[in-house]
Symmetry: none
Subunit: 155 residues, 2 copies
DNA sequence: TGACCAACCATAAAAAACCATGGTATCCCA
DNA sequence: TGGGATACCATGGTTTTTTATGGTTGGTCA
């Protein structure tokens, strides 16, 4: 499955087009759908995206963990999957962000793409600066509670 | 997974390129991505690096142990993955260190690669001299306090 | 016809590939 | 064992390609 790293800030032109970072494009190139899938996360004022198989896996997991007729599952599936969009690349590797998502995320002239492993986020450039600060201080507390991983050291 | 040993100091040219030690290169050669992945550790003024599967493992482990929307998971993922970069080798085995990382680590003209097993660090050559001194004296005190490990005997 | 959307073309900046070189350690053979 | 040849590695500069970005054109649907 695709893997996303690093942070990139690109410009949104007046037609709403944004270049998807080249490394993100090549990450999803192998996928069945040649583009990205975006949705509104529940907990942050931003857009989240991934390749198609990530959403398929998320769906499978919801059904697997809760069963197909569980109310919690249904509400989460509706909130995420029903609002999702497939965005194809134009010949230059750009996408058009849906207007409602852009508004919801407060994306104006500059969009920041944030690689988070199997998925990524898209923030308004200014909002992300503040968010990053929060996350870093939160991570300092949260990191020791998380399971250790390779290298034998603190990451 | 790749394994890194020894210490090497190489020159950084004015374009920010550094030769990755040959033994580090061959360590990651088997990996899917032909290059290294670097990120800013939380606790030291240096750069840390590993092969791609190290970060994939970290990411998948976070997503596996917690739901995909857990706040602790998200903050750590943001701190590490969003600040990470994939650095591909040029045909001569060099990488371009991102400017912000070079600044954050105080790397000027000479970069010191420090093998630490599953991962490695990159320091400014001068800063590393001081750091090494600290670590050595600290290790002498810390070693006896470590719990015994493998083989059944005292280390 | 007018608004919207998708492809096309152009350009400047940044990144990657290419080519050349000097030094060092290693191998081979007399 | 000595000396030359050789392979490898780190380094520097130049060229080519990619990427991000802006504008323009053509088509489509209401």
């Amino acid at each position: 499955m695709a893997f996303f790293l690093s942070t990139f800030t690109n410009k949104v032109d007046k037609k709403g087009r944004v270049s998807v970072p080249a490394s993100f494009r090549s990450a999803v190139a192998a996928s069945h759908f040649p583009g990205i899938v975006v949705y509104r996360p529940l907990n942050f004022p931003c857009i989240e995206g991934a390749d198609m198989s990530f959403l398929e896996q998320l769906s499978d997991r919801l059904y697997g963990d809760f069963g197909p007729f569980n109310p919690d599952q249904m509400s989460v599936a509706t909130a995420i999957l029903a609002g999702a969009s497939q965005l194809g690349f134009d010949p230059e590797g750009r996408v058009m962000l849906p207007a409602e998502m852009r508004d919801a995320a407060g994306i104006d002239t500059h969009a920041t793409f944030v690689g988070l492993g199997r998925k990524f986020q898209i923030w308004g450039a200014d909002a992300y600066q503040a968010h990053l600060k929060d996350q870093l201080s939160h991570a300092a507390e949260a990191a020791p509670k998380l399971p250790p991983f390779g290298g034998g050291g603190q990451a």
